[in-house]
């Protein structure tokens, strides 16, 4: 009985250990614009999620493939080249999370999550709450 229990515990911890090791090497990180710029050399080859607020009047469309805009967290600003589906909600000062990668300090993305407030929360640029994001 005890032997079996130990065996099961050993098995479980082995699986847990292996999964955590593999999980940590398959992680996609979220960065705010400030964090991204501070770590830009480390993350330039990785696919990351970048969050921020769309800078007013920065949105322009250069071709069907490319929408350009900037996002900020109130501190540092990053140029975005976006090729993908733009949600109807997308507009100036909107909170967005972009999925993509850095190249020459420009962030290329093809996947956007826009903050949609089911709760009609007041405009609040300070608290950056990712939980209410949806495609």
């Amino acid at each position: 009985m005890k032997k079996n229990l130990l065996l099961v515990l050993f098995g479980i911890s082995l699986i847990v250990f292996a999964s955590i090791r593999i999980a940590s090497s398959n992680t996609i990180y979220y960065y705010t614009t400030t964090e991204a710029i501070d770590n830009i050399t480390e993350i330039s080859s990785e696919r990351i999620k970048l969050g921020g607020f769309v800078v007013s009047e920065s949105v322009s469309k250069s071709s069907i493939d490319e929408t350009n805009f900037e996002i900020t967290d109130g501190n540092k600003t990053i140029k975005i080249v976006f090729d993908g589906f733009i949600p109807e909600l997308f507009q100036d000062e909107m909170g967005v999370i972009l999925d993509g990668y850095f190249e020459n300090n420009i962030f290329y993305s093809d996947d956007m999550l826009v903050k949609h407030d089911n709760e009609y929360i007041s405009e609040d640029g300070e608290t950056y709450d990712v939980e209410n994001y949806s495609k």
Partner: protein, 627 residues
């Protein structure tokens, strides 16, 4: 008015449940359990009526329905968000309570009634103390309701129109079937929990419990399989990304109970036939339901980001208390029964049925743990490093993939496993032709499609599984009807084999490309020609739809962009799907720019075969029905 009636009936149901919990009259609970089912059915009906009457004085309806919502989606709005879905949850739970009394209740003890009523009180209490779909609106927002009360007979305010359901949830009729199916599956796992804990609470060594627990797990398993499959189908048809499974947290937490239930359906047999693995079976029969509560906690408390996640409130704390309570109950009863567990026979013959079932259970439980860790890892990471992350799907591909492959190889032998031995020689002799055929087929496929070892063994395993079990079933079906749990298993295994073949085709062969087009163009994709016709815009009550008709041969289908009014103005890209047995052409609009469209063309292989396999597995219950 409806708000007050709803709240009062909720209280009535709560009091009725308290009476069931506290009285000890055996002749009374039959009646009370029926009353409980009736009251919960009544609550369900009242909310449906309120939805169809557009009673916007109810917070829930003002926020998750709208006058413009089409009838089918009004009906489905009941489970479109957290508060309402708990009503459906409670109804299903009450129905199972009634079913339990009627079918499974055998002994004279009342522990089962107490535990069952405690569980319903827990979920019913949520609608009383935390948030209820009948909560009346006392303060309006610009659209919908901003503040609500849980007290009856208040002065309520009524908004003019509702916010409408989440656009994702009003785009496909599957939304009306998938969640109820899933709930029937989920909630049904309460039965083995109640049966195992109540039978062992008094150290009542009645060996019937495992049989009843196994029987009661089967139907929930069928509904869970069907519910998860329908969810995958919904994702494929609605979300426009061309996939069907994303290892999203909500998908994961439906998969964990499924894995555990599948494990239990096998391991229970070893106890019934050979009196082995007693402790393991006890643990599984409880963990199935605990994993359901855990799943609800993870997905409904807002701790994780997910497409399915409803907004929160204090449900998180509420669920964690429940989870702790029921886990403690499970542990304490388990510890009390250590002697009973020690009377379990040892597994001695590892090449007989028990050995195979042990291997199967280790693999299924192992993948449940992997999926569990993948789901909660981001939570822990965020708590420790205060940094948000998600886990890439490669995590699951690396870990779950090989486990499922091993399971397929175990299933191949399931035709010929007897109590003590796998009759390997007679298995080889009987399937000599099929084995050779499978080897030749997989060599050919590997050569033509993808020459990797991993591909080859996966293809070989899946083809073997399908031909060997297929032949086994056909042979038997010629002579007589397929009856009994052996054939249930065989049919379910056949379904999984077919599913695996579809999956391999899908993963290895599919491709896509992005094309910029304007109407009138003819596009070549995958050796087929597609004519792009003129787009049109349809204005509906609840949405504007931009349709882009695409013609192949003589069939025309619309790729469309749904832009929803009200609420959040989200746009959803619905695919035009040209279906075929071996592959679909799946076209979605990515960007619209005046008269130019950027389309994504996807060639998705094996989709039909995946659905076919899952349907066969779900329908395996037919051979369990009594004549």
């Amino acid at each position: 008015m409806i708000s007050s009636v709803g709240i009062l009936i909720t209280w009535l149901a709560f009091l009725n449940l308290l009476v069931i919990l506290l009285i000890n009259k055996k002749d009374l609970y039959q009646l009370l359990v029926r009353i409980n089912l009736f009251l919960h059915f009544l609550l369900f009906c009242i909310l449906e009526i309120a939805l169809f009457l557009d009673d916007f004085s109810l917070n829930y309806i003002a926020n998750y329905s709208a006058s413009s919502t089409p009838p089918l989606y009004k009906f489905a709005s009941l489970w479109g968000s957290l508060d309402g879905s708990i009503l459906l949850w409670n109804l299903v739970l009450s129905f199972y309570f009634y079913l339990y009394i009627k079918i499974y209740k055998k002994n004279n003890e009342l522990y089962d009634i107490k535990i069952f009523s405690l569980i319903i009180i827990f979920f019913n209490g949520f609608t009383i103390f935390s948030s209820s779909p009948f909560a009346g609106c006392i303060q309006l927002a610009s659209v919908g309701c901003a503040d609500f009360t849980l007290l009856p007979f208040q002065n309520l305010v009524e908004s003019l129109s509702g916010r409408g359901p989440n656009p994702l949830l009003q785009n496909h009729p599957l939304m009306a079937i998938h969640p109820p199916m899933l709930y029937i599956g989920y909630v049904g796992l309460v039965l083995p929990f109640v049966i195992a804990t109540s039978e062992l609470i008094n150290k009542n060594k009645n060996e019937e419990w495992i049989k009843i627990a196994e029987k009661s797990t089967y139907m929930p398993w069928v509904f869970l399989t069907a519910g998860i499959s329908l969810g995958a189908a919904w994702s494929y048809e609605v979300l426009g990304w061309g996939g069907y499974w994303a290892w999203d947290p909500v998908e994961n937490v439906s998969f964990i109970p499924w894995l555990l239930a599948t494990a239990f359906l096998h391991s229970a047999k070893t106890q019934i036939k050979e009196f082995t693995l007693l402790n393991w079976n006890y643990a599984l029969s409880c963990l199935m339901f605990l994993s359901v509560i855990f799943g609800t906690f993870i997905t409904r408390s807002g701790v994780l980001i997910s497409v399915h996640a409803f907004s929160n409130g204090n449900i998180g704390t509420y669920l964690i208390i429940g989870l702790t309570f029921f886990t403690l109950l499970f542990l304490i009863i388990g510890i009390k029964n250590i002697e009973y567990f020690q009377s379990s026979s040892k597994v001695t013959n590892f090449f007989g049925r028990t050995g195979f079932f042990v291997a199967n259970n280790l693999l299924l439980a192992g993948s449940a743990i992997v999926v569990f860790i993948g789901t909660i890892y981001p939570l822990f990471y965020e708590t420790i490093y205060s940094k948000q992350i998600t886990i890439g799907r490669s995590f699951y591909d690396i870990l779950v993939g090989p486990i499922l492959l091993l399971l397929i190889y175990l299933m191949i032998f399931s035709t010929k496993i007897t109590k003590n031995n796998l009759k390997i020689t007679s298995w080889l002799e009987e399937n000599y032709f099929e084995i050779n055929l499978s080897i030749i087929l997989s060599i050919i496929f590997t050569f033509f499609f993808r020459s990797s070892f991993k591909f080859a063994i996966t293809v070989l395993g899946s083809i073997l599984l399908v031909v060997i079990i297929g032949k086994n079933i056909l042979n038997k079906a010629k002579k007589t009807k397929l009856q009994g749990s052996y054939w249930t298993g065989q049919i379910a295994h056949l379904g999984i084999g077919i599913f695996a073949i579809g999956l391999i085709m899908n993963v290895s062969q599919s491709y896509s490309s992005e094309l910029i087009i304007s109407s009138g163009d003819t596009i070549q994709f995958g050796n087929q020609e597609f004519n792009i016709l003129n787009p049109n815009e349809v204005q509906k009550n609840e949405k504007n739809v931009i349709n882009l008709p695409i013609q192949k041969n003589n069939t025309t289908k619309n790729a469309s962009l749904n832009i929803f009014k009200n609420s959040t103005q989200q746009a959803i890209s619905s695919p035009a799907v040209f279906r075929n047995v071996e592959s679909d052409t799946y076209i979605t609009i990515k960007v619209i720019d005046d008269n130019n469209f950027k389309l994504i063309f996807r060639k998705n292989y094996g989709i039909f075969i995946i659905w076919l396999g899952l349907a066969i597995s779900s329908l395996s219950f037919i051979s369990r029905l009594k004549r």
